[in-house]
């Protein structure tokens, strides 16, 4: 591609910072920015506005709204012509916010065959639970140096965490989750709109390749490295989730 002038570059700054440019254009903009202080300054100002907005954050889901939504849906469901057991299920759902989750887990339970299956079901349940609760992270930070010590005393191992923002998978935080029979480290990333939970479990042999399964509309990519078993769970499509897994693997073996 030919060299770009300032006008062209300034037009492309927004898609540039949003990572929406095809590789050749992205490269050409990058080249220009490296040699043009005026355009580099415009980029820095734009980044600053964007950081200010992101730091401010959006509004959190009000307490109880999830339950109110579920009971309204249940109420509309039970008004229809439905068998009594169905109305009872709706009633139960309206009284226990977790009944929704119970339904999802119930289906997953049926899918359990062996212990590998069980772990897959458990990590998908844990991922869905975190989405429904509206609290996917207990520590919200993109800094791996905050996350690692944060796990200290919460799980008996130090899970590797790495920000992959430059590869399109920003780190958003971490939480301790429960994957029977133990508390495990869960590291949370995003890809555009999609949330990825990376579960890190102690144990597992080395050297096995990555494997993929789909459960309840969620993709699960798993592998074992250096004494840990990894499960990446997301509604992201399979190929992007596998690309994510590859990045994590290469980052942890550096």
């Amino acid at each position: 591609m030919t060299r770009m002038d300032c006008a062209e570059v300034l037009d492309l700054l927004h898609p540039y910072i949003d990572d929406e440019l095809p590789p050749e254009e992205r490269h050409a903009v990058g080249l220009h920015l490296g040699s043009c202080p005026a355009c580099a300054k415009a980029l820095a100002e734009l980044e600053e506005v964007r950081q200010q907005i992101r730091r401010a954050g959006t509004f959190a889901l009000p307490a109880g709204l999830g339950e109110r939504v579920r009971s309204r849906i249940s109420a509309s469901r039970s008004r229809g012509t439905q068998p009594p057991w169905r109305r009872m299920a709706a009633l139960a759902a309206s009284h226990a916010g977790v009944a929704v989750l119970g339904g999802a887990i119930g289906l997953l339970l049926m899918a359990r065959i062996d212990s590998g299956e069980r772990i897959v079901s458990d990590v998908v349940s844990a991922h869905v639970r975190s989405l429904i609760s509206g609290e996917p992270t207990q520590v919200a930070t993109a800094d791996p140096h905050v996350i690692r010590p944060w796990f200290g005393g919460k799980v008996p191992y130090a899970p590797p965490a790495k920000d992959l923002a430059s590869e399109g998978f920003p780190l958003v935080g971490a939480r301790v989750d429960y994957v029977p029979p133990q508390a495990v480290a869960a590291i949370v990333y995003t890809r555009h709109l999609h949330r990825i939970t990376l579960f890190v479990l102690p144990g597992g042999r080395e050297g096995l390749g990555t494997s993929w399964v789909s459960r309840q509309g969620y993709n699960v990519v798993s592998w074992r490295d250096a004494g840990f078993s990894y499960y990446a769970v997301s509604d992201l499509n399979r190929s992007e989730l596998e690309a994510f897994a590859k990045l994590v693997r290469s980052a942890s073996t550096q």
Binding site: A56, I73, S76
Partner: protein, 187 residues
């Protein structure tokens, strides 16, 4: 709806409730109106779920939320024919702090951060709706241009130009606010 479809709704759509509220909150600019719009939207989404062909559950839901909010805003305008007071007020109820929950911030740092958050929120709330929605979908929901286009129902090129204008306006609003702190005097 079959039980299977209901379970799918719970697993594919309900997890996006927080995103639905966030978008509604920015469009309606009022907490209670946003809650009402979200309840309405989720019920509509549930009833329309039979037509959900798979793919991106969040974009599908957010498009419904947006339509519901716009309908409600239109109704509010035609019913009142005057500007509702809370249209003019910046959102002020405390939102959850996102950064670094585990690190104790010094009291004054926390206050500065809170001031900053209010200032940014007031600036976003002051944007015209068509700029505000693309900005919110991009910065808070991390949607790709293509996904924003799907929610808003415009071509990708329009999303790009609106986003650019939204950010330029934000830059001006935030710079003004920081320089003179004369926000309270402007109408």
């Amino acid at each position: 709806m079959t039980d299977r479809r209901s379970s799918e709704f719970e697993v594919l759509i309900l997890p996006h409730l927080a995103a639905a509220y966030s978008l509604a909150r920015w469009l309606m600019r009022h907490p209670q109106d946003a809650e009402d719009a979200v309840q309405d939207s989720m019920l509509r989404a549930y009833k329309a779920f039979g037509s959900f062909a798979g793919g991106d559950g969040a974009a599908w839901l957010l498009a419904i939320v947006r339509n519901t909010c716009l309908t409600r805003l239109e109704r509010r305008r035609s019913e009142n024919n005057v500007v509702v007071l809370h249209d003019l007020l910046p959102p002020i109820e405390p939102a959850r702090h996102s950064p670094l929950v585990s690190l104790p911030l010094a009291q004054d740092q926390a206050m500065i951060a809170e001031e900053e958050r209010k200032r940014v929120h007031a600036a976003i709330a002051a944007l015209p709706l068509q700029f505000r929605e693309v900005l919110v979908l991009r910065e808070f929901h991390d949607l790709a241009y293509r996904e924003i286009a799907e929610v808003v129902g415009t071509p990708v090129g329009t999303v790009m130009s609106r986003l650019a204008r939204a950010r330029e306006r934000m830059k001006i609003l935030l710079t003004e606010g920081a320089a003179g702190d004369e926000r309270g005097n402007r109408t």
